[in-house]
């Protein structure tokens, strides 16, 4: 019995060390990319000049029950700084007055458009054009979910690149220009995304980020550290070896032909953003085609983080289901033919991100039980907790360091103090709670629960 306990104890200890070593390796991979990014900043920050050779972009804005905010969101999109783009809003059978709000704000009229039905979707009811803004169109369709709405947007789009985004994403005026840059610099690029940051506590005016700040709510604060970890060394690290498996659905640009050829967004999935990226890897590798999926460390998109436990829980459950679904639908990517994404990123995601919650929760429960029943000493139990928490804290602090050397968005000493406190709180209680929610998400995925539009109650108190 004691051998089994000892064996399991070592297993959990080594698991926690293993997962954190993986993240430290990602951190090390991210450092040269960030260094290079900082080095070329004098070049990138020069005033932009457009030649007409920049690929035009269709911004696809799927909207479901966004009556209150859709008009201001679209207005802010129309002010983006980029050479040529169009905005295609897709009203996914909203039950509220989303369409009416758009009609009123932008003087829409029905247009007999012959759109290209390259992807199979729910029926389109009507396509509207704005009399005020020639670059704005609204597609009204039967409800089919976000992925279906994006596919309709792809069918209706005119340009070779499209940007999939959330209706409530907060952008900077140069966000689109920055995220398209990899398509200019590297002809192999089929997708590009950037860092998503938390908007709570910031000042947003006219839908654009005006001033960066920290929120007062501890739950939002801790998510800032969490996002820094996920984006600054998670995705940047994977991008260094062309193995990014997620580009956030909040703001990502894609080469339309590649996405259409791969079948578009998968309807009836929760994590349609991740599923598409994993499928694109699989699709391109199976055909031996050169391709690149880029991830920019630049903060290009801001989103409101939930400040209520109930909403956060539902969000994390949905994310975990999306992750599990995306990986298992594309399991064929795993293996030597999958290159870095299939050999390294996919197994890492499967073991640590997808099934990790099973092992982590089991580890905490097991160690607590064997301590309660006296199979291990209090010192052994405390040392296990110390190991799990200290490694997590180290990773959070290293994310803060990367932020410090790269973007430095929270410049005051007091802000750094608050973020360090948040990093401690993140590892003592918050992460464990999120792990339990992720486990629930995994169980729901295994039980095959149906996907719907994610509901996120926005407060938007920081919007001017």
């Amino acid at each position: 019995m004691s051998t089994v306990v000892r064996g399991l104890e070592w297993f959990f200890l080594l698991y926690f060390v293993g997962i954190n070593l993986g993240y430290i390796a990602l951190n090390l991979l991210a450092i040269p990319t960030l260094q290079r990014k900082i080095a070329v900043r004098p070049l990138e920050n020069l005033p932009p000049v457009y030649s007409g050779f920049e690929p035009p972009v269709s911004l696809l804005v799927p909207a479901y029950n966004e009556e209150a905010t859709i008009a201001s969101s679209v207005r802010s999109l129309l002010q983006l700084d980029y050479a040529e783009f169009e905005v295609v809003v897709v009203n996914d059978g909203s039950k509220d007055g989303t369409l009416a709000a758009l009609q009123e704000a932008f003087a829409l009229e029905v247009f007999p458009e012959a759109h290209w039905r390259r992807l199979k979707t729910q029926p389109v009811r009507a396509i509207y054009r704005s009399r005020m803004y020639p670059s704005l169109r609204v597609v009204d369709k039967e409800n089919g979910g976000k992925a279906d709405a994006l596919n309709v947007g792809i069918n209706a789009s005119r340009y070779p690149l499209f940007c999939a985004m959330d209706a409530d994403s907060i952008l900077q005026r140069d966000s689109l220009r920055r995220v398209v840059e990899p398509f200019l610099d590297d002809p192999r690029t089929i997708a590009s995304g950037g860092t998503v940051r938390i908007a709570n506590g910031c000042i947003v005016s006219g839908g654009h980020m005006e001033r960066v700040g920290l929120p007062r709510h501890p739950l939002a604060l801790v998510q800032i550290v969490e996002y820094l970890r996920a984006f600054l060394f998670g995705r940047v690290g994977w991008a260094t070896i062309n193995a990014v498996l997620i580009i956030s659905g909040a703001f990502g640009v894609f080469r339309k032909d590649a996405v259409v050829e791969a079948g578009g967004f998968m309807a009836n999935t929760i994590g349609e953003d991740m599923e598409l990226i994993v499928r694109l890897h699989r699709f391109m590798r199976a055909r031996n085609r050169p391709y690149a999926i880029h991830f920019l460390p630049d903060p290009i998109c801001w989103t409101e983080a939930p400040e209520s436990l109930a909403i956060l829980k539902s969000q994390r459950i949905r994310w975990q289901r999306g992750l599990a679904e995306s990986l298992h639908r594309n399991i064929a990517l795993m293996g030597p033919r999958g290159g870095a994404p299939g050999l390294v990123a996919f197994p890492f995601f499967l073991v640590f991100e997808c099934y990790g919650p099973f092992i982590e929760v089991a580890g905490y429960v097991f160690m607590t039980l064997v301590w309660i029943f006296g199979a291990i000493s209090g010192t052994a139990f405390a040392s296990f907790l110390g190991l799990a928490i200290s490694l997590g804290f180290l990773l959070s602090v290293s994310a803060l360091l990367l932020e410090e050397v790269s973007y430095h968005l929270y410049p005051r000493f007091s802000q750094m103090g608050i973020l360090v406190a948040a990093a401690i709180f993140e590892n003592v209680g918050y992460r464990q709670l999120v792990t339990v929610w992720r486990l629930i998400g995994l169980v729901r995925w295994l039980r095959g629960a149906r996907s719907t539009w994610g509901t996120m109650t926005r407060k938007g108190s920081w919007q001017k």
């Binding site: 070049l43 000049v49 247009f111 602090v397 410090e404 410049p411 750094m416």
Partner: protein, 352 residues
């Protein structure tokens, strides 16, 4: 020395990892604090100087003699050059020359030259951009060497600086790279060509087009839009008859402006590559007459949306085709796709 028994080896291991992690975290936190303190100090130091430099540069755009530029320390030089580069990017006319004079009078041109040899990519890029704006001929050799760098960032920045210093010579020297280096983004080359203007770029473009390089001709053809259209047109239109490469025919079709080319355009409308068919529809929209209706109706049933779209657009723009005839064509279209596309084009034409 106390030796751990096998039963407490796990504790020793966990404690060791915990201690190492916490010690590393403390080191990182101290580094963050140190960097933050240094950054604040630098920010405080540089903020006032930036105002002085900005003021001096503003004055110098009009009269370099009247500008009072304080001495710039080695530590401040990169920040000063970044500011100068921003001025350089946005100024036209005599102002860039005046600014360059101010910097030369203060010996900053030589200091920027010295920065070109630094290992730091950041410093080198700042210096490359600066010597470009300064039109620093002494930097030519160093820039030519940097333009051959295998990395696109440094090589392209150097090429851009060379094109600022002596555009004619740079187009000659850099021609093979502009044509063939695919890691030099076309959109960025295009901004330079746009800045240089047709008088400077046309001779180089004509030479490259006449040379018809096997690799990179598509890039040259795209850049050709920045040259004088009449000079480019006479070369490119000749390719309509003598090429079987789709991208060449597309380029040629985009320069079609005369009715005499119509027989070739009609042939291109039946080409197997849809890009060629689309370009043919566009060409017919420019030069086609009433008799092209039949071929455009044929293109209106093309399997590719873009070909149908441009065919419908061409019909609405065709000389000699009345609105009533167009409506009639729409009503009588048997193919559902053709009818839908013609309806779309007619609605767009009404908006024009």
């Amino acid at each position: 020395m106390v030796r751990a028994s096998s039963s407490d080896l796990d504790i020793v291991f966990a404690v060791f990892v915990t201690a190492a992690a916490l010690a590393s975290a403390v080191v990182l936190l101290v580094s963050i604090a140190g960097m933050r303190a240094w950054r604040r100090l630098r920010h405080a130091m540089i903020a006032r100087r930036l105002d002085e430099w900005r003021e001096a540069l503003y004055v110098a755009t009009e009269d370099p003699q009247a500008a009072r530029l304080p001495r710039i320390s080695a530590l401040d030089l990169p920040e000063f050059l970044i500011l100068f580069n921003h001025f350089g990017e946005s100024l036209r006319g005599e102002a860039p020359g005046n600014l360059a004079r101010l910097l030369r009078d203060h010996g900053i041109d030589k200091r920027a030259l010295a920065l070109l040899r630094r290992r730091s990519l950041r410093l080198r890029l700042i210096a490359i951009i600066a010597v470009g704006h300064l039109r620093e001929e002494d930097a030519w050799t160093a820039l030519a060497e940097l333009s051959r760098d295998p990395g696109p960032v440094t090589s392209f920045a150097a090429a851009r600086a060379m094109l600022r210093i002596d555009p004619r010579l740079a187009l000659e020297v850099l021609g093979p790279s502009i044509i063939a280096r695919e890691d030099w983004p076309l959109a960025r080359i295009a901004t330079i060509f746009q800045e240089l203007g047709p008088a400077l770029v046309t001779p180089a473009l004509v030479n490259w087009l006449l040379g018809r390089p096997r690799r990179g001709l598509d890039r040259v053809v795209k850049l050709a839009r920045f040259g004088h259209r009449h000079r480019i047109s006479s070369i490119v239109r000749g390719w309509l008859t003598g090429s079987d490469r789709a991208e060449i025919i597309v380029a040629a079709l985009d320069y079609v402006e005369e009715e005499s080319d119509l027989p070739w355009v009609r042939g291109a409308a039946r080409h197997e590559d849809w890009h060629v068919r689309m370009a043919a529809a566009r060409a017919l929209a420019r030069v086609g007459e009433h008799r092209e209706v039949a071929i455009l109706l044929e293109l209106l049933t093309d399997p590719v949306w873009w070909v149908r779209y441009h065919a419908a657009q061409a019909l609405t723009r065709l000389h000699g085709l009345s609105p009533n005839e167009l409506e009639l064509l729409h009503e009588n279209a048997r193919d559902a796709y053709a009818s839908e596309m013609l309806g779309h084009a007619l609605a767009e034409a009404r908006l024009r």
